[in-house]
């Protein structure tokens, strides 16, 4: 200690070094803090600065549970916010930010909020400091705060004290002498930052603002006004940051664009800087424009962009396509106005050299895949015009769709014009025509958006069973058409179509076991396709992956696997084609999991793929069915992976590539499908009428069970679970119960052993079936169920309570 007491400059350097490396010492942290705090009062600014830096460093590697200690460090840092030296104040801002963070972390609920606001306002009070670097640091620190009251946030955009913050004060300092911190110290803080002289400060303020718009929608809607004005900033970096912030707000659904904003915003589409124009387009495509006038302004600006900067063409087409897709209802009226421009001239030549015309075509062809429900007519010949410009258009839409699919899509749309003379576009969704019969499943373009199954032939069919089955079959056959839309990324459309089919099918009720089976199968299948579609679109657009995270993907794939397993084991009478179909989707799911989920177990997944694919091969051989491209690719790939020393990791991109060859085959229901189902009930039991039990002793529960289509060799289990514990299984030996395979109804008193030490509890009960696939050997003496279980009914809740004496 003595050596550092002299003011010799060498020693001073030594001391700075010492303090800079404070966290590396093996000194009791409390002692270290004491020493550092002592140095924060040093008369030498250098020492005060490094002492504060030391505090900052310690804050990240120390656990302090004593709040008063944290408060001590925090308030010492606050005091030094008013130091005479710029560098000390800068370090003090960092220290306030870091120790403020600790302070917030060690509090709960209301006081946590209060402290978070306190730190926020304290940092806001520094944004008018005269030191530029300090202002940058202060705004950076503001952006790190995750919890701020809306009132305070709104105050940062308003110069006068708002009623909500007028009287509020916090613990802190306004000046060296004033030892309370009024909430009004936050006034205009962000606007000051955004109009700062230095672009470094403006950028930092803009970035932090971006982070905080996620906290409050109200704040975001206020902030957007000034952000739009920032687009007029003279620094490219700042304009870019402003666009990024607006984009972030748009995708987090906190953006409301007014017509007044558009002048400035659309102006950026004509900016001289490529990166600004590109960012502007990127932002525009995620913006929702509320009326036709706004949409028209946007399209006009995009056209101007194309006119002035022809090099942007490809990207512009994509943006126009995406914008058209999200604003389908406006596109119609625009296309009608400009339709003459699109029509061929008298010589039969098309005036297509004009980039504008092609851009309008791109806009027009976005309509059928629009997410909007009400779509105005786009003349179908437009699609044939677009075919001529296929190459040019497809360059732009490369991200969304490849050229082949685009061609198929365009010719599909234009063919309809030949057959039914634009009938196609009167409906909201593609009309589904059946080749053999005149049974027509079509959607009407009414506002209720309900789909109807109508056909004279259908109505005349007396047999309900036949009618239901044929409807289900029609739907299932048509689902493969839907795949094209999924491939285009038009999930909104797909989901709505599937939903309307599902609704239509659910309307049928029937007692016939075959009909029930077919319906159940069709509904399950539709659900699987829906899930698959969601996964597919998520993978198509990397943006979604980034913002929705892997977690969602994992959940979706999990659901798909569960459903597929259910379909495979809970239906009997599936034909080999049907089984093949399901197996192929299973394989797809496995490949998806393997290529996109980091968390997946590589070996297990690979083994599963091998098992399924060999089963597929066998089935194909037996039935003399050709293997699909997807399976062929996959098998080739498995061989390569097996032979290469790189392991699966190196080959993941190959797996991903194999996904490209997948397309959904048409599923044709042929056999008589029966659904394995169970009903489970406990008579007169609810929350008010619990069954009696005595804690610690087993209790018998009388279940009423109905089983459908379950032959006696199926192995069924009752699973009974108390929240938070592992389930108890009771075996149901079907040989013991009367009834036939179609329906078996009986009462069964099941014992439950693990009654908890409470006066009341509820038990979740379900009937599960072991899934016995060919490749799993059956051990008769096996205790408890096989790991793979399929649940046959909805889980019920049984209420139990200790009788009152």
């Amino acid at each position: 200690m003595e050596t550092i007491c002299t003011t010799d400059s060498n020693d001073m350097d030594e001391m700075r070094l010492l303090l800079r490396n404070v966290s590396k010492f093996c000194v009791r942290p409390s002692l270290l803090l004491t020493v550092l705090l002592g140095f924060t009062k040093d008369p030498y600014p250098n020492i005060r600065e490094v002492a504060l830096d030391g505090l900052v460093e310690l804050s990240s590697c120390i656990v302090v549970e004593d709040q008063s200690l944290i408060e001590g460090c925090y308030f010492r840092a606050v005091e030094l916010l008013f130091d005479c030296e710029d560098s000390v104040r800068r370090s003090a801002v960092c220290a306030v930010s870091e120790w403020g963070r600790l302070l917030v972390a060690c509090n709960q609920d209301q006081s946590k909020k209060e402290w978070s606001d306190t730190v926020f306002v304290q940092l806001c009070s520094m944004v008018r400091d005269m030191d530029m670097k300090l202002r940058v640091v202060a705004f950076d620190a503001l952006g790190k705060i995750r919890m701020v009251s809306e009132d305070i946030l709104l105050q940062t955009l308003c110069k006068k004290a708002l009623p909500a913050t007028k009287e509020k004060t916090y613990c802190g300092q306004l000046t060296a002498k004033l030892l309370t911190l009024p909430a009004s110290a936050a006034a205009f803080a962000f606007v000051h930052g955004l109009e700062d002289e230095f672009h470094e400060v403006r950028r930092s303020a803009c970035r932090s603002l971006c982070m905080l718009t996620a906290v409050s929608a109200e704040f975001a809607s206020e902030a957007v006004n000034i952000l739009m004005d920032m687009l007029n900033d003279d620094s490219v970096v700042v304009r870019l940051q402003a666009l990024e912030t607006i984009h972030f707000m748009a995708i987090s659904d906190h953006l409301k664009v007014e017509e007044a904003h558009l002048h400035m915003f659309l102006g950026t589409l004509l900016d001289r800087s490529d990166s600004i124009r590109s960012a502007a387009r990127n932002t525009l495509q995620s913006i929702k424009l509320r009326n036709l006038a706004m949409f028209r302004l946007a399209i006009d600006a995009l056209m101007k962009n194309l006119e002035f900067y022809p090099q942007d063409e490809a990207d512009l087409f994509l943006v126009i396509f995406k914008l058209g897709r999200t604003h389908g209802k406006f596109v119609g009226s625009i296309i009608r106005e400009v339709f003459q421009e699109l029509e061929p001239s008298f010589e039969g030549k098309l005036a297509f050299d004009n980039a504008r015309t092609v851009a309008l075509l791109v806009l027009a062809i976005s309509v059928p895949v629009s997410f909007e429900r009400r779509i105005c007519t786009v003349p179908p010949q437009t699609f044939s015009y677009a075919v001529i410009q296929l190459g040019r258009i497809s360059r732009g839409l490369f991200d969304v769709v490849n050229q082949d699919t685009l061609l198929a899509y365009l010719s599909h749309c234009s063919r309809f014009s030949l057959v039914s003379d634009s009938e196609f576009f009167k409906g909201e969704e593609p009309a589904l025509q059946l080749e053999k019969s005149d049974v027509l499943l079509c959607q009407k373009s009414n506002d209720t958006s309900e789909a109807h199954l109508t056909s004279p032939l259908l109505d005349s069919l007396a047999n309900l069973h036949d009618r239901v089955t044929s409807c289900a079959k029609i739907v299932l056959r048509k689902i493969s058409d839907i795949w094209r839309l999924i491939d285009l990324g038009c999930m909104g459309e797909v989901i709505q179509t599937l939903r309307s089919w599902k609704e239509e099918l659910s309307k049928f009720t029937s007692d016939s076991p075959q009909t029930v089976g077919v319906l159940a199968f069709a509904l399950q299948y539709i659900h699987v396709i829906k899930l698959l579609g969601k996964v597919w679109t998520r993978i198509l657009s990397s943006r979604n992956l980034r913002y929705h995270g892997m977690g969602v993907l994992e959940v979706l794939l999990g659901k798909i696997d569960k459903r597929l397993q259910d379909m495979r084991y809970r239906f009997i009478g599936l034909s080999r084609e049907e089984e093949l179909h399901l197996l192929e989707i299973m394989l797809l799911s496995c490949v998806l999991r393997l290529s996109y989920l980091e968390t997946c177990n590589l070996e297990a997944s690979l083994k599963k793929i091998c098992t399924i694919s060999s089963r597929v091969e066998n089935l194909c051989k037996e039935e003399a069915i050709e293997l699909s491209n997807f399976i062929l690719d996959l098998q080739k790939l498995l061989c390569e992976i097996g032979n290469s020393s790189d392991g699966v990791f190196e080959n993941i991109y190959l797996l991903q590539k194999s996904l490209k060859s997948f397309s959904l085959r048409q599923i044709v229901l042929s056999g008589e499908i029966k659904h394995l189902e169970a009903e489970l009930n406990v008579l007169d039991n609810d929350f008010q009428n619990p069954l009696p039990f005595i804690s610690g002793l087993p209790v018998g529960i009388p279940f009423e069970i109905t089983l459908y289509n379950l032959t006696s060799e199926k192995r069924l289990w009752l699973t009974m679970t108390v929240d938070g514990t592992s389930p108890q299984f009771v075996f149901l030996d079907l040989h013991e119960f009367e009834g036939c395979d179609e329906i078996r109804k009986f009462t069964f008193v099941a014992p439950f052993y693990g009654t908890p030490r409470v006066t009341y509890f509820s038990l979740k009960v379900c009937i599960a079936m072991e899934c016995l696939s060919e490749d799993v050997q059956l051990f008769k003496d096996y205790e408890g169920p096989k790991p793979e279980l399929s649940f046959l009914c909805k889980e019920i809740e049984v209420h139990l309570s200790t009788p009152v004496k």
């Binding site: 120390i62 008063s68 000034i226 007029n232």
Partner: protein, 498 residues
């Protein structure tokens, strides 16, 4: 030791800024302005209050002038050449360069146009300027062995400065006019955190809370863009220095980004000379101008060309900058007469217009309107009118921010309107706990000053490092404990996990 402030001008009013501050036996005159609203003796500060004998050279230690506006410098030639002050005068380099232009311009207007008695001649202006010592920003000037002064950037206009003055342990800051918000061509005021006994600040907008500058810029650009997009002509009457460069940079930048081809004109004489000064004095402009200087001088406007009279009635849209600002005559009036009758055209007006000017009449007019230029001429005004709200002065928030940052012991408000100053004074006292004064002209404010006891560094260091007896100011914890002698044994909640 006390500080005495004699307010000779700009006390509870705007005009003839002049404050004489006495610290010990040093007497500093801050600004020496004239009042544009008076033509009698009231136009100058009452210098007799400084010295009954009229020996100003010996009464004053020095004069400090903050910027070239006439209400801050207009009385200087009179004071030196007529009243005979011969002592040192300090101002920044740009102020020294631009002041003679302003003074000469003023002299011409008074003598040539209004036919008034000459207050000082062109020669006297030059003589006066010879006595000026130019200073640079942040350069500490030792006026004599006791008095130090230092200039800080003030924004406002090219060359404007705040001045710090120190005698012994007593230090003050006189702000002059300043702006806390940067604009396109000038930066925001910039000063160090100093230990101050007194801050004398302007308070032109003592109760105004101005909105974001982006909104002002947007409205201006939108109006101009809309007009030229519709084929109209835009007339922007401005003064030669300041707003013209600001607006021109804004437009030039916008033109560049938006790829606009419509010509922007500067009327001859206006600005060519002024732009030259800006180019020379690049260090006194905003950060952005300085940043881009290496690649391109921001005052080399890309899209601006000089105007020829024959272009007035040329077809097609254009933007024209012309003097004078309030359309009180000259070229801007000539063009106004030609362009005003057409609906598609646009005329912008500065935020403030003197009564009697065409600009002033337009401010309250609703188009279409009939405006009388003189007895014989009446103009049918049908064009659009856009009121500019750019201002080179800080607003109330800016004043409070500066006072908060400097946290002086006392504040004196000058250069404002009486009732508004009273409101601001109340705010400074109640919110900041700082004693504040708003003296009228010719009043003196006496301020006691305290000595700072300077700790000898080594002693204090020794003390703090040998016995770190820490005391925190505990602001809100109810438990309110002292942290002296922290120890891990008594603070078990402390763990290091690295």
């Amino acid at each position: 030791m006390a500080i005495e402030c004699l307010v000779l001008g700009a006390g509870q009013e705007v005009g003839k800024s002049c404050v004489v501050v006495t610290i010990n036996d040093k007497k500093i005159m801050f600004d020496c302005g004239m009042h544009m609203g008076y033509l009698d003796h009231r136009r100058y500060p009452d210098f007799s209050l400084i010295s009954k004998s009229g020996d100003f050279t010996n009464s004053l230690t020095c004069i400090v002038v903050t910027h070239f506006h006439l209400d801050h410098i207009g009385a200087l030639p009179y004071f030196t050449e007529v009243c005979g002050y011969n002592g040192p005068i300090y101002m920044t380099y740009p102020t020294k360069a631009l002041a003679p232009l302003m003074l000469e311009d003023y002299r011409k207007v008074m003598v040539d146009r209004r036919g008034e008695e000459e207050q000082f001649s062109s020669e006297q202006i030059l003589e006066c300027m010879k006595k000026v010592t130019a200073v640079d920003l942040k350069q500490t000037v030792q006026v004599d062995k006791d008095l130090q002064i230092r200039a800080y950037y003030a924004g406002h206009v090219l060359g404007a400065a705040m001045f710090y003055a120190r005698v012994g342990d007593v230090a003050i800051v006189y702000t002059g006019d300043y702006n806390m918000t940067p604009d396109r061509h000038l930066g925001a005021a910039q000063i160090d955190r100093l230990q101050l006994d007194l801050v004398i600040t302007e308070s032109t907008y003592a109760t105004t809370y101005r909105d974001s500058k982006y909104a002002r810029e947007r409205e201006f650009l939108k109006a101009v863009h809309k007009c030229v997009a519709g084929g109209g002509k835009v007339l922007i009457p401005t003064f030669a220095l300041g707003r013209a460069q600001e607006l021109c940079m804004l437009l030039d930048d916008y033109w560049e980004r938006m790829n606009l081809k419509v010509p922007i004109y500067f009327s001859a004489g206006l600005t060519v000379q002024a732009n030259m000064y800006y180019k020379m004095l690049i260090n006194w402009t905003s950060q952005k101008v300085k940043d881009t200087y290496a690649t391109r001088n921001a005052f080399d406007f890309k899209h601006v060309c000089s105007f020829d009279r024959s272009l007035i009635n040329a077809p097609g849209p254009c933007v024209l900058f012309a003097t004078p600002g309030m359309i009180s005559g000259g070229f801007s009036l000539e063009v106004f007469k030609q362009w005003a009758p057409y609906e598609g055209n646009l005329v912008t007006l500065p935020g403030y217009c003197v009564a009697g000017t065409v600009g002033h009449r337009l401010m309250s007019a609703k188009t279409p309107a009939q405006i009388n230029i003189d007895q014989d001429t009446q103009i049918d005004v049908r064009c659009q009118i856009h009121q500019l709200s750019f201002s080179p002065h800080t607003d109330a928030k800016g004043i409070l921010d500066l006072v908060k940052f400097l946290s002086p012991k006392h504040v004196i408000l000058v250069h404002g309107e009486k009732p508004k100053m009273a409101t601001l004074k109340e705010k400074i006292q109640s919110q900041m706990g700082i004693q504040c004064f708003d003296p009228a002209n010719n009043e003196t404010v006496s301020i006691p000053s305290t000595h700072y006891v300077k700790a000898v560094a080594s002693d204090a260091l020794l003390q703090s490092s040998l016995s770190p007896n820490l005391k925190f100011i505990r602001k809100c914890s109810e438990r309110g404990s002292d942290f002296g002698g922290l120890d891990a044994r008594t603070k078990p909640g402390l763990k290091v996990f690295r």
